[in-house]
């Protein structure tokens, strides 16, 4: 899984840490009926967008 994440991150030109981070966030909330993760993911994307100008 770890290797595949790195491979896909490279292929789609995104930081592997971003992909790992959002997967982790989803893992933690997968059991919740209301995940409310859209704003959180948006925040992470904003951070990365600011970092990779």
């Amino acid at each position: 899984m770890e290797e595949k994440i790195k491979e896909l991150a490279k292929k789609h030109n995104i930081p592997a840490s971003l992909l790992k981070k959002v997967i982790q966030m989803e893992k933690e909330r997968v059991i919740l009926q209301q995940r409310r993760l859209v704003p959180e993911i948006r925040k992470v994307i904003q951070q990365y967008a600011a970092l990779y100008k």
Binding site: L8, A9, N13, L18, L19, V38, I45, Q46
Partner: protein, 650 residues
């Protein structure tokens, strides 16, 4: 990482008044089995129910809500007599790595007049000494309820996993163990984020015409790509189904092909059969005739004698007839052959003799008859004697040939049962149609892929264009970057989920096949197990065919073995290795499967807790398991009371 059950504490739970069961986890890694022995009715099932109740509540024991009031009978009867409003609890402690998880569930017995009810008073989740909120969610993340039958089961329940089709719940449970829902959720959430960003982009670009135009075009293309992607995925799924149908039809067609050649063989054999029947009739007729003529051959000596006698008589008669003719000539000529005249006395004598001879004219007829009879008898004597022995031998051979042919025809007819020439024709027609349908789907997918590729190229151009336009405005530039990242994240997640499903299936298939090969009683027939797209199971035969367990009439034992291999393979593939608690493990299985399954338990990466009777685990199996058993607990009773079970380490 392995999750292990460390202890169970029952208070007033069914037959256990106050019972702690500690599972010693400080053990060598090669040991993974804990055995809890107990006779029937001593509390093995109560123990399993206690675990399920503590984790998932009353519905895990009584899925039907109308049955749930019966739960009041779970309070220990002896304790209830002393305190009718007592509490009942189960506390479970799990260990995962260095973390300890303690789950507590307590209910209070409520008595109002004649009504007895219960109320939950505590339900908590403690992680390494700290109480955590969201008890249910925490349990779900540790041991998801939908997967409970994959961890805590009796032998019979797991047969479900060898079914032809799975319910949505079963598929979800399997995917949950494999960690697929979180990536599916990521796709959904990223899609929503993308939409949100685009919305904001629309808002800020409304005053900038060119940016707005590019943005709108881009959104249209994105929507178009999404629609085409969805259509492609649906078509891919359809294609899978069509392939399954095609494979089934192909197999049927191959069988029908065999049936066709068998039909030809039947035709040939039927022709041979009719020839043999004709030959047999002829030979039987010859034998019959031979038997009819048998007296002739038996009496041939006598017949020959009679013929000779008749011949002699005929000769005498002929001589007499010649004499008469000579006398008549003498009388007419008046002169003897010697030249002397015939005098009166001689004439008189001759006339007397002639008269006598004429009176014997009947001799002539007799001579003719005799001659005829002699000829017939002579012919009879000349008739060659038949070789009856040879005829009988030939008849026996023909009868054997006929029996063999009939048997061959019968077998071929059995083999071709269910087929007729029309149905074979229909199967081939269907196969042809199915191949066409498959080709159409494949063409559709190819077209969609080309379209998507073109749209993506267009999308890329527009994105660059938008980026350029957006760079003139800080906020727009920032949103453009966010949109770009969200797009890429979405694509990566989409690819990841597909990889994850395929990869997990391959890994489960490998583990399941290895385990199945060890526990099946027919390792020489099967090569492994196939995990289908929907997680149903197929059997790979040595011939290379993949068949459905239902198609080859798997016995219940074989189904259970297959399902166990799947659950164990799933557990191994998930990397989670949850504890497996098995109640009366495979008690109803045949001895070979039972021994094979139990012998495979030490190889599982999970903690295995067997709740068994002495019959479930006889001494020979226990001896095999002994090197892998960490502890043996024994359930006994205090006195004769069925509500006072105690568990002790042996």
């Amino acid at each position: 990482m392995q999750i292990k059950l460390k202890s169970i504490h029952f208070q007033n739970w069914k037959c256990f008044q106050d019972q702690v069961i500690n599972f010693n986890l400080d053990t060598v890694v090669t040991k993974n089995i804990w055995v809890v022995f107990g006779d029937n009715g001593y509390g093995k099932t109560s123990l399993l129910q206690g675990i399920l109740w503590c984790l998932y509540g009353v519905k895990a024991i009584f899925p039907d809500t109308r049955q749930q009031p019966k739960f009041v009978t779970f309070f220990n009867s002896i304790a209830v007599k002393e305190n009718p409003s007592l509490e009942m609890s189960v506390i479970l402690t799990f260990k995962q790595g260095e973390e300890l998880y303690r789950i507590t569930r307590v209910v209070k017995r409520l008595v109002r007049g004649n009504n007895v009810n219960f109320k939950q008073t505590t339900f908590s989740f403690n992680k390494s000494g700290k109480e955590k909120p969201d008890t249910k969610e925490n349990i779900e993340s540790l041991l998801p309820e939908s997967c409970k039958e994959l961890f805590f089961f009796d032998g019979k329940k797991i047969e479900e996993y060898a079914k032809l089709t799975h319910s949505k719940e079963t598929r979800n449970a399997i995917e949950q163990v494999l960690g697929i829902p979180e990536i599916r959720n990521l796709i959904d959430d990223t899609k929503k984020v993308r939409k949100e960003i685009e919305q904001e982009f629309d808002n800020i670009s409304s005053t900038k015409n060119e940016l707005k135009k590019v943005s709108q075009e881009l959104n249209e293309i994105k929507d178009n790509i999404s629609i085409k992607e969805a259509t492609k995925n649906q078509t891919l799924q359809d294609l899978q189904q069509e392939r399954i149908i095609l494979n089934a039809l192909d197999k049927e067609a191959r069988q029908s092909d065999e049936a066709q050649s068998k039909f030809d063989e039947i035709n040939k054999l039927e022709k041979t059969e009719s020839i043999v029947i004709k030959d047999l009739e002829q030979i039987s007729e010859k034998i019959k005739t031979s038997f009819r003529k048998a007296p002739i051959y038996l009496l041939s000596g006598l017949v020959r004698e009679i013929a000779d006698e008749i011949h002699t008589k005929t000769l005498i008669n002929n001589k007499q007839l010649a004499d008469t003719s000579l006398l008549e000539k003498l009388i007419i000529n008046d002169e003897c052959v010697c030249g002397r005249c015939i005098d009166t006395e001689v004439r008189q004598y001759l006339e007397e003799q002639l008269e006598k001879a004429k009176n014997s004219r009947h001799l002539y007829k007799q001579a003719v008859d005799n001659q005829k009879l002699h000829t017939e008898l002579s012919m009879l004597c000349r008739t060659p004697s038949p070789d009856l022995e040879l005829l009988l031998l030939r008849r026996d051979r023909l009868e054997e040939d006929l029996t063999e042919t009939e048997q061959a025809i019968k077998k071929l007819k059995q083999d071709t049962d269910g087929f007729d020439r029309d149905s074979i024709k229909k199967i081939w027609q269907k196969l042809y149609q199915q191949e066409n349908a498959l080709k159409q789907k494949q063409d559709q997918i190819d077209r969609l892929e080309r379209d998507i590729e073109e749209l993506e190229e267009e999308q890329s151009k527009l994105q660059k264009q938008r980026k350029k336009l957006a760079s003139q405005n800080k906020e727009a530039a920032n949103l453009s970057r966010q949109s770009d990242i969200a797009d890429r994240l979405y694509q990566a997640a989409d690819e990841l989920v597909r990889w994850q499903i395929d990869n997990s299936r391959e890994i489960i298939e490998q583990y399941t096949s290895e385990i199945h090969q060890k526990i099946t009683n027919k390792p020489e027939e099967y090569k492994g197990v196939r995990i289908n797209q929907d997680y149903t199971l197929g059997i790979k035969q040595k011939s290379g065919d993949i068949v459905n367990p239902e198609e080859i009439n798997f016995s219940p034992g074989e189904k259970e073995t297959l399902a166990f291999a799947f659950i164990a393979g799933l557990n191994q593939a998930s990397g989670k290795a949850a504890p497996l608690v098995m109640d009366t493990p495979f008690g109803h299985l045949d001895p070979i499967h039972k021994k094979n399954i139990i012998n495979s338990l030490p190889e599982l990466p999970s903690q295995v807790i067997l709740l068994a009777t002495g019959e479930d685990l006889p001494q020979n199996i226990l001896d095999d398991l002994a090197p892998y058993i960490v502890q043996t607990h024994v359930i006994s009773r205090k006195g004769d009371n069925r509500f006072s079970s105690v568990i002790k380490i042996e």
